[in-house]
Every structure is written in C-alpha cells, then in structure tokens.
C-alpha cells in the first residue's frame, strides 16, 4: 500500500467515524449543552439581563420570578445573569488548564513511549508519585505555597496536576505505535526524533489524546469549581460558579436555595455534557 493510499483510507475511516458521531445521541445532547455554555461564555453580557454586580436593594434574597428568573442573592444580584456571565470564567480557565495539561502530558508521554528505557522508567515513577496525591490537596498546597490565587495560578496548578494522567495515556498509545512500520521507515529516513514524535506518531495517537482531553476537561470544570468553593480560586465575589456556591451555600439553611442551586446545576450540566461527548468519542473511535 502506498503512502497516498494509506492516507486516503485513513481519511475515509475518519469521515465514517465522524458520520457515526453525528448520529450519536449522547454526543448530540452533550454538544448542544456545551454549545449553549460556550455561547454564554462568548456573548454572556448580551444574554444576561443585568450587570453581574448590579444590586437591587428592593429584591434581597428574592425567589425566582418574572423579574429575576433565577432569583437574587443576599446582595440583591441577579442569579441568572451571574450564572450566564460566570460561564466564561470557568470554561476559559478549565479549557486553558486542560490544554496546558494536554500539551505537557502529550510531550512527556510521547517522549517516554518512544525513548523507553531509563528515561521512561524514571519519568513514569515521578508522574505516578504526583498522581498518587489527590488533586485538590496538591492544588491547595500550591495555592498556600504561592500565597495568592488568581486565574493564571489556577490554570497553571490544574494544568500541572493533569500532566501525569495525560502522559500515561499517551505513553501507552505511543508504545504500540512506535513498533509500527511507519516509525521504522521514518527512522530509516534518519528523521529527527522531534519529527518522528510530533509529525509521525502524534497524528496517530490524536484520537486518544482528544478523548483524554475531553475527560480531563470534565475534571477541570470540577477542579476549578472546587478550588473556588474552597476560596483558593478566583476573586472574591466573582460570578464564577464555584465562588457563587461558596458565597451562598449557607443560605440553604434559611430556605434561600436558588443562589446555590443554579450555579451548581450549571457546573453539573457542563461536566455531564463533556462526559457525554467523551463517552461518544470513546465509542466511535473504539478506544
């Protein structure tokens, strides 16, 4: 089989899988929910009915109504508007953190799976040690050590924490790929290691990486929300969903449940949507 034929076969296979994916109900539902939040993140200020910080002193802890669809919080702020606007923060931070983790993890996983030997063994033991510590503990330790928290720090911490998991997944895929003929052929052509890793092997493990990316994105949503809930995330009073839940959860005991429920539902809906997409990808790519 020539290179051209092999490429065409792969493209046909990919088209068929994407066609299957488009018919997958879990994927459609997940993508629809995620699209809604992505649009909210981009056009939040237009979709929201009030400014995120606007306080209506006449409507403190007001239940959901025609004026305030999701009710108001203890500062008289519109919960609906804050949930919509807050989507940008959590989505952007989660996406960037996952991207960072995927980049670092894929690079390490490619190198470990391809180079093998002592490098692989030492690197994997280090990554295993890191992933043995619970995510939130590492994150809190990092925030405590740095002494401050911010969006950038949150991205860096979560990206770092996700690196070992991505690396292990990619490494496993690379181990299989590195024994195939096209890798041997590249070696015979005396291609540089970086070329073999990123131009030859990476495209072939991309489906694995994409699925891993979606799985990690789901975890990142939870990690960002949890860090914010614990006060180690973003600016106090920010419309970020985790911060909203942290600021309002105690109101539940005074029968004011809406400022907590709606951001919680938002977190859950994004996480579920990403999981649905991830499951569909796993199924379609038979990983």
């Amino acid at each position: 089989m020539t290179d051209e034929t092999a490429k065409q076969t792969k493209q046909t296979e990919l088209s068929e899988r994407l066609a299957v994916l488009k018919r997958n109900k879990a994927f459609i539902v997940g993508a629809a929910i995620l699209c809604f939040w992505a649009l909210s993140a981009i056009f939040g200020k237009l979709i929201a009915r009030y400014d995120q910080d606007f306080m209506d002193y006449e409507y403190i802890n007001s239940a959901p109504s025609g004026k305030y669809w999701f009710g108001t919080d203890s500062n008289g702020r519109d919960v609906y508007s804050r949930v919509i606007i807050g989507s940008r923060i959590i989505l952007v931070i989660s996406f960037l953190a996952t991207l960072l983790g995927a980049f670092l993890g894929a690079s390490l996983g490619l190198a470990a799976g391809y180079l093998k030997g002592k490098f692989d063994m030492i690197l994997m033991r280090i990554l295993e040690a890191i992933s043995a510590i619970p995510v939130i503990i590492i994150a809190l330790l990092a925030v405590a050590a740095i002494g401050r928290s911010s969006s950038i720090i949150t991205v860096l911490i979560i990206g770092f924490i996700f690196t070992p998991n991505v690396a292990r997944t990619v490494r496993a895929a690379v181990l299989g790929e590195s024994e195939l003929e096209y890798v041997a052929a590249a070696k015979l052509r005396t291609e540089k290691t970086a070329h073999i890793l990123f131009r030859e092997i990476l495209p072939n493990v991309l489906p694995t990486l994409i699925v891993e990316f979606t799985v990690r994105l789901g975890y990142a949503i939870f990690a960002v929300a949890t860090l914010s809930f614990l006060g180690a995330g973003l600016e106090a009073g920010s419309p970020d969903w985790g911060t909203q839940v942290a600021d309002t959860w105690s109101l539940i005991f005074t029968d004011v449940w809406w400022p907590t429920l709606f951001p919680s539902l938002a977190i859950a809906s994004v996480a579920v949507s990403i999981n649905l997409i991830s499951d569909a990808l796993l199924e379609v790519f038979e990983l």
């Binding site: 910080d53 306080m55 500062n75 008289g76 005074t254």
Partner: protein, 538 residues
C-alpha cells in the same frame, strides 16, 4: 486638688432614643455590687453545657496579642478593673470604686480583696500594677497599650489601691481600663501575656479554661470561686465554637448542637422560627471601616476618596442588604454618640458629583483598584456593595479577601506596626499597609480609641496615613474635653474634618444580632461580642 464629682461620659448604647449620658459614671463607681448586697446566687439551675458559635480568631487569645475573635475567650477567663455592660454602662468588677482628681489627670482605683486567680492565688494591687506596666512595656508589643492613652503611668498606693497618672486630662479614662480594653484583663504578677499564656489562661474570670483549640473550640468550666457570687454561671460548662461564617452555624443551631449564635446577619436571623429561637439586639458604634491611603497609591487625592464615598447608597444598603439591622454612619465614628453634631449634612449618593470630582482629579474615566480585607460574611457583602457602587463612576474594583487560617491571619499579620505618621510604607496587602482596605471594628463604649488610634495621624492603628493637623486638633480637643458642650464642639469639628478629607468611609454602625434557642433564657453579648451572661435553662 479637685475631685471630678460630675464628669460627663458619653456612651453608645442601644439606639438613639435610649442613648444617654451616664452622669458621673467615670468619677465614682458603686462600692458594692447590688447583687452582692442581696446575697445568694443563681448557681445550680442547669448543670448542663451552654454552647455558642462565635466568629473565627484573627490571632492568639493572649492578653498582649488581642485580636478580633479572641475577646470572647479572654472575656470568659478574665476580669478587668471595671466591666462595661451590653448597654455601655460601667460596672464595678475587680475595682469596687474609682475616682478622678486633678482635673481628670489622676485616677485612683480601689481593688477588691476577695479576688482569686484560677490557680487559687489571691489578686493584689501588685498584680494590677504589673498587668498595666507589662502592657506599657514596649518590648511586649501589646495591642492594648495604646488604648490606655499616651504618657500613662500606674503605681501601687497600698495593698488595695492603685493610681494612674495621665499627661492629659481624660474624663473617659475608666473606659480605657475596662473590659472594653479586653487585653487588659488582670494577669498574675510576673505572668507573660504572650502566646505562652494560652496554655493556662490563668485569669480571675467566671470561667476556667479546660481546653483550647485555636479556631475550633474552647471549653470552659465555671469558676465557683468567682468573686461576684451572683454572676457565677448557672451552666457547669461553656463551649465556644468558632465558625468561619456565622451562617454556617445555623444548621447546628437548628439541630440543637449549639444554643446560640452571636453576630448572625439580621436577615438570616429573621428566617429562623420565632417559636424556637429568640433574638437579642445590641446596637453598637462598631462596623466596617474602609480606609484609603492618603500617602501612596491612587487615592492620595482627597477628591477621589470623596468620589468613592459619594457612590454609596448607604440607606438602601442598610435597609436592603442589612435588613435594617444597622444605623446610618457618615464617614466618621461620631454618629452613634450623643454629642454628634446632627447639623452636619449627611453624605448621600451623588453619582454626578462623584464623576465631576474624578474629572477634577484627572481620572475622568476611572481606574483599576484593589480592595483588600479578609473573608467574613459582612465583609463579603460589603465589598460587593463597594464594587457595584464604584462601577458607576468607572472605578473597576478587584476584591482580594484573605481567607488564610480561617480568620484573616495575613490581613492582620502586623508586619507593619505601629503605623508611623506620614509613612509611605508600600502596600503589603495587610491592614496597616494596604492602599484600600477594610477592618472590622467592634463597638466601643466611647469613641476615644477609634479617634486616638485609627483617625489621628500619630495613631498606632492609622491605616490611612493622612496627616491633617485640623483633624488631629479636633481629636485632641475631644479627648481632653471635660464638658458636654466642649465634647460636642470637638465632635462637630471631627465630623467636618472627616468629610473634608475622607480618610475612612464608615457606612453604618452595626446592630449585633444574637439568636438563641428558647431552651436557654437570658443570654446576652456585649457590644464587642463577648458573652456577658450565658443565661439559664428555660
């Protein structure tokens, strides 16, 4: 030598209509407590545990290191020369009587002879003199020393008398040695009031410390040797449980795990069923003080500071967010006190004027600014209010609240202490070295401490670093005034200077709300948040 027979003292008490002058309170105390005359005690009614939720500690509960949240613990184990009741009145305690002479520059206190420390030893005037001098010794870095006022000396006259000599007259001096200066609880001669004190907490108060876990729980047993037999608690044990948020204690209250929550939001207290819980309200002159640095940063122009103050709709905030559980303040601490000059115009929200001031100051389009403090329910809400309000004139406020150690350990780190007049110390993100920040002040029976420590340019807790001679002069005039007329004139000058320079924004004076289970009656907390009486079983 003239004796002050009729000194006027003003006290912030429960609401405007009930505020009053306590004639001669500072001059002569009542020699024998009423309860002692009638004898008897309420001991034995309950024989159970009283549990209450209090705010988180900002620092160790040690006499020299007093910080917010620790006063409840100190109040339980300690006694002072004089107590201040929830309504702001002076009550004899370790001192049975006190007298001001020499125009208010000499104060003499008569000490009880039946007071015992928790270790069984008797309290003497030596202990009193030692306690005061240990605070005045600068190497101990006591946070209570400045509350005594400058140039104070304390000497033993005889076994049951001590004398204070002041450089300047002060009609309110008895308050400076009262429980409102809560670090000044009487320690045993030679004891250290630093962190080591926490191990034993050897005080003379009505509760004896059994166990203490910082920012978790402190357990006390009642002191059957307490000198005021009528005040011996009816409960055998008291547990002070600390929550990061008072609201978080509501489930524990609802399920009977605790009996009382102090400093709950009024709006939240209103949601609890009246059939099971009752509220007690203590209007205070305390609240949140938002300072703006006059020496460095973006707020050095007084027009900018005034513009920020003009964005705030105080009345709406008090009525809406605080549910009416506060009194309007007007950027000075004088509003709660009877000598406030009510003719000074109140500051109201005026966005047009605020924008004009910003334009005059050359920042027409606003700027970015960081507001710093620590995480607490009322501060969370207030910062949201400030952020929302400042947005109206283009000032983009980022809120940075310290949640470390559960109680603002970073915010009250005191790496900068004391404040130095005119200092240009860099912003370090803590109270006394932040450009734009908020500190919470508990109520005080008189405004003296606020004025002397926070507002005056030479104050050790001056977070704004404003150097305004006319404000300083007005404060000095207040501190030394001995008549109501002079106090009022000084108050007026302070109010006007505060509005002129706006070093600190004071939006409201809080009404402290305590919610208690109906199973316990008579629970009271004072203006500062210390448990005044733990009540009895209903």
């Amino acid at each position: 030598m003239s004796t002050i027979e009729q000194t006027t003292t003003e006290v912030s008490t429960s609401g405007l209509s009930r505020r009053h002058f306590i004639q001669a309170a500072a001059a002569t105390g009542i020699a024998i407590p009423f309860a002692q005359m009638i004898g008897g005690s309420s001991v034995g009614a309950a024989g159970k545990v009283f549990r209450y939720a209090s705010q988180a500690q900002e620092g160790p509960a040690a006499p020299w290191m007093t910080k917010g949240g620790s006063l409840g613990i100190l109040n339980a184990v300690g006694s002072w020369l004089i107590d201040v009741s929830p309504s702001g009145e002076l009550k004899p305690s370790v001192a049975t009587a006190w007298k001001g002479t020499n125009g208010g520059t000499t104060w003499t206190f008569t000490i009880r002879t039946d007071v015992k420390f928790h270790d069984g030893s008797a309290l003497t005037s030596d202990d009193v003199v030692y306690t005061v001098n240990s605070h005045l010794d600068s190497k101990n870095k006591s946070q209570s020393a400045a509350k005594l006022g400058g140039g104070v000396t304390c000497v033993k006259v005889d076994a049951k008398t001590v004398r204070f000599d002041l450089q300047k007259p002060n009609a309110n001096f008895p308050y400076n040695v009262s429980s409102s200066n809560y670090g000044l609880l009487i320690m045993k001669n030679g004891a250290k009031g630093d962190e080591s004190w926490i191990a034993t907490m050897n005080g003379t108060g009505k509760w004896i410390m059994v166990s203490h876990k910082v920012n978790e729980k402190t357990v006390f047993k009642r002191n059957m040797n307490y000198f005021d037999k009528a005040q011996i608690p009816s409960f055998e044990t008291m547990e002070q449980i600390q929550y990061v948020s008072q609201s978080a204690a509501i489930p524990a209250l609802k399920t009977g795990k605790i009996d009382s929550i102090h400093l709950l939001y009024g709006t939240e207290a209103d949601t609890l069923p009246k059939a099971k819980f009752y509220k007690t309200l203590v209007p205070t002159c305390g609240g949140l003080h938002m300072h703006m640095r006059a020496d460095i940063g973006q707020l050095t122009d007084k027009r900018v500071r005034e513009a920020i103050a003009l964005t705030l709709d105080r009345t709406a905030y008090i009525k809406g967010v605080l549910g009416g559980y506060a009194l309007l303040a007007n950027d000075s601490v004088m509003d709660s006190f009877p000598t406030a000059d009510k003719s000074v115009p109140q500051r109201k929200k005026d966005i047009a004027r605020a924008k004009a001031l910003l334009a005059e100051a050359g920042v027409k389009n606003g700027f970015k600014l960081t507001l710093q403090s620590w995480k607490r329910d009322d501060i969370d809400k207030f910062t949201a209010f400030v952020k929302s309000s400042c947005k109206e004139i283009g000032i983009d406020v980022t809120v940075d609240l310290d949640g470390s150690d559960g109680g603002g350990a970073r915010w009250y780190a005191y790496s900068v202490y004391p404040s130095v007049k005119g200092s240009k110390v860099a912003n370090k993100g803590e109270w006394l070295a932040s450009e734009f920040g908020i500190a919470e002040w508990a109520g005080r029976p008189t405004p003296d401490e606020y004025l002397n420590r926070e507002w005056k340019s030479t104050g050790d807790w001056n977070p704004h670093y404003l150097d305004a001679p006319d404000l300083d002069a007005a404060v000095d005039a207040w501190l030394t005034a001995l008549t109501p007329a002079k106090k009022k004139a000084a108050s007026s000058a302070i109010q006007k200077a505060s509005l002129k320079y706006t070093p600190i924004i004071v939006v409201y004076n809080e009404t402290r709300v305590t919610v208690t289970s109906n199973k316990v009656k008579g629970v009271e907390f004072n203006q500062q948040g210390a448990n005044w009486t733990s009540g009895t079983n209903a």
